[in-house]
């Protein structure tokens, strides 16, 4: 008994000594808390991206001779450039759809609904199910004689057989990104002071005028964030075009997948990865210029000085 309590107090002293040690060394304390996650993110996220940059300039394996051929092969191939163009077009179309539908939904929920929490939950929940499963659901719906066609038949309408077409890809993307894109729209709309809208109306502006000159400009940052959250993952996607797009809707992500899963040309795949990254970085810089706050806790973070 006595021995154990001695041992206990010895351990207690030890702990006291350790905490005293850290208390007198705030830098070390910060290092112990922030260091491990920092190390993990740098080692397993940042460094891999740098390795990709390095590999993209090599011929076959790491340590081999340097070359620009991966980039020149990509940028001089009409096939690949067409794929990039097609990817860009699809991504912009999806972003436009999300902007209209997502904003309309967020606006309707914030301004006209009392059951906000329930509705928000209904919107977000599908996001948390498997991406592939959600695409599979749309295969069932869109394929010829699928749910959509059967339903149209019931009303005596002709079948459309949308699967493996561009509309199918657009529907699929809208379906997966809508729940995510809506969150920043919603957040910026809830932060908007309703008095401003009242003021605008009191001054004689109709609802449309109020929307275009007060609501939309005031929620611009949320809109930009939502659109970035739509455009970037669409631009890099391969699952949706693979499952819903058929052979006429090749996107750049599919070309990368192909390099790693069947062609086994890793440096070429890395170079395409870099091309996508450049587009993404350019977009982020543009978005930051226009005020979309993607790393936004800074204003709210409030660490004590």
């Amino acid at each position: 008994m006595a021995g154990r309590s001695d041992a206990g107090s010895a351990i207690g002293d030890r702990i006291d000594a350790i905490t005293a040690y850290f208390r007198s060394r705030p830098r070390l304390r910060t290092l112990v808390v922030a260091g491990p996650p920092y190390a993990v993110l740098v080692l397993f996220f940042a460094i891999p991206l740098l390795v990709m940059l390095v590999v993209s300039f090599q011929t076959s394996e790491i340590g081999g001779p340097w070359t620009l051929s991966n980039y020149t092969n990509f940028l001089t191939s009409e096939t690949y450039l067409t794929v990039v163009w097609q990817t860009l077009v699809i991504s912009l179309q999806v972003t436009a759809i999300i902007a209209v539908v997502g904003y309309a939904l967020a606006y309707s929920i914030v301004r006209f609904s009392r059951r906000t929490t329930l509705l928000l939950l209904l919107v977000i929940l599908p996001f948390w199910t498997s991406y592939i499963i959600r695409m599979y659901a749309w295969i069932n719906i869109l394929q010829s004689d699928g749910v959509l066609d059967s339903t149209l038949n019931l009303f005596g309408l002709p079948a459309v057989g949308l699967l493996y077409s561009q509309p199918a890809v657009l529907i699929g993307f809208t379906y997966v990104w809508l729940p995510l894109a809506i969150l920043p729209f919603y957040a910026s709309l809830t932060n908007l002071d309703p008095d401003l809208i009242e003021a605008s109306k009191d001054l004689g502006a109709g609802p449309i005028r109020t929307f275009t000159s007060v609501t939309l400009p005031m929620t611009k940052n949320g809109v930009i964030t939502g659109l970035i959250l739509t455009f970037i993952p669409t631009f890099g996607s391969f699952i949706t075009p693979r499952l819903l797009g058929g052979t006429n809707n090749i996107m750049i992500g599919m070309v990368i997948e192909n390099q790693f899963k069947s062609a086994f040309n890793w440096p070429f795949g890395a170079a395409i990865g870099m091309v996508i990254s450049v587009v993404v970085v350019a977009l982020l810089i543009l978005a930051t210029r226009f005020g979309g706050g993607l790393f936004g806790q800074r204003s709210q973070g409030g660490a004590e000085a």
Binding site: V33, P48, V123, W128, I132, Y136, V147, S237, R242
Partner: protein, 277 residues
């Protein structure tokens, strides 16, 4: 000109009168768009004819029986869980440390830490997936299991941090002051005052991290070699090469996991925390 302005006035009036009704219609349509595919999956899992027939002539539990006796599918679920559970524990620990550091300390590189913890959401999955396969499998030669767990940790950190950080920000700091005034040091204050208060947020972050990891496909698909497939990889192979009606049942499994986890997570925090920027 006056015709135009009177027209615009008419439009403004119409919008004003019907705004509430239009809003209800928008909400109803979008919710239907989001939930009909899910309803279709659930419904199809009971369809006797299998995948290609709609509407089904007969309802059956046959595919559930097939699923439960299919060792490949059950193995895939077990494989997924043996990856998701350790990944979730690591993620929650790291995300709590990130949130604590960002909320409490001022240090050089604080903004960078926050950016690094957000970036995996923004960088396209396929890009990070490629980078990971090059570094983990190519440079480091990590064992497949380790690569996949690490990939899942990177995938889930941003979301867990996004959920845990607000609980730190809204936590009443005076409780900690009181604890320290009473003589407790920082570590003891953390264990006895801070942690119990932010625990719901941490559990919520963990549940969402688990859900995300359970669904994770892109990183896993790239990083993973020829070993046992996770459930999403298994279902990808099924859909691409031989669709069986069993896929509908697996969809329902995914759905049940997601709905349960998210509802518990939401009940522990508040939905609007998820929308904080």
């Amino acid at each position: 000109m006056s015709a135009l302005s009177s027209l615009s006035a008419a439009v403004e009036r119409t919008v004003h009168t019907h705004a509430a009704r239009m809003a209800t219609a928008v909400i109803a349509l979008v919710i239907a768009f989001l939930w009909i595919p899910i309803a279709v999956l659930v419904f199809m899992s009971f369809a006797a004819g299998g995948v290609l027939s709609f509407p089904p002539e007969q309802l059956t539990l046959e595919w559930y029986r097939v699923f439960l006796t299919n060792d490949a599918a059950i193995d895939a679920i077990v494989t997924t869980i043996t990856i998701s559970v350790p990944a979730t524990i690591i993620t929650v620990t790291l995300s709590t440390m990130i949130a604590y550091a960002i909320d409490r300390y001022v240090f050089p590189g604080r903004d960078w830490l926050q950016m690094l913890a957000t970036l995996p959401i923004i960088v396209p999955l396929v890009v990070t997936g490629v980078a990971m396969v090059l570094f983990f499998n190519g440079t480091l030669g990590l064992p497949e299991y380790v690569s996949v767990v690490v990939a899942h940790v990177i995938r889930t950190i941003p979301f867990a941090t996004l959920v845990i950080l607000p609980t730190f920000l809204t936590f009443d700091r005076r409780l900690e002051e009181a604890s320290k005034d009473l003589g407790a040091d920082e570590l003891r204050t953390f264990w006895q005052v801070t942690l119990p208060n932010i625990f719901p947020g941490i559990v919520a972050g963990g549940l969402l991290a688990f859900t995300l990891s359970f669904n994770e496909f892109v990183y896993t698909y790239f990083v993973k070699g020829s070993g046992d497939p996770t459930l999403p990889v298994y279902i990808w192979n099924q859909i691409r090469y031989n669709v069986t009606p069993e896929v509908n049942v697996i969809s329902v499994v995914f759905l049940v996991v997601a709905v349960t986890m998210v509802l518990v997570a939401v009940s522990l925090t508040r939905v609007d925390l998820l929308t904080r920027q």
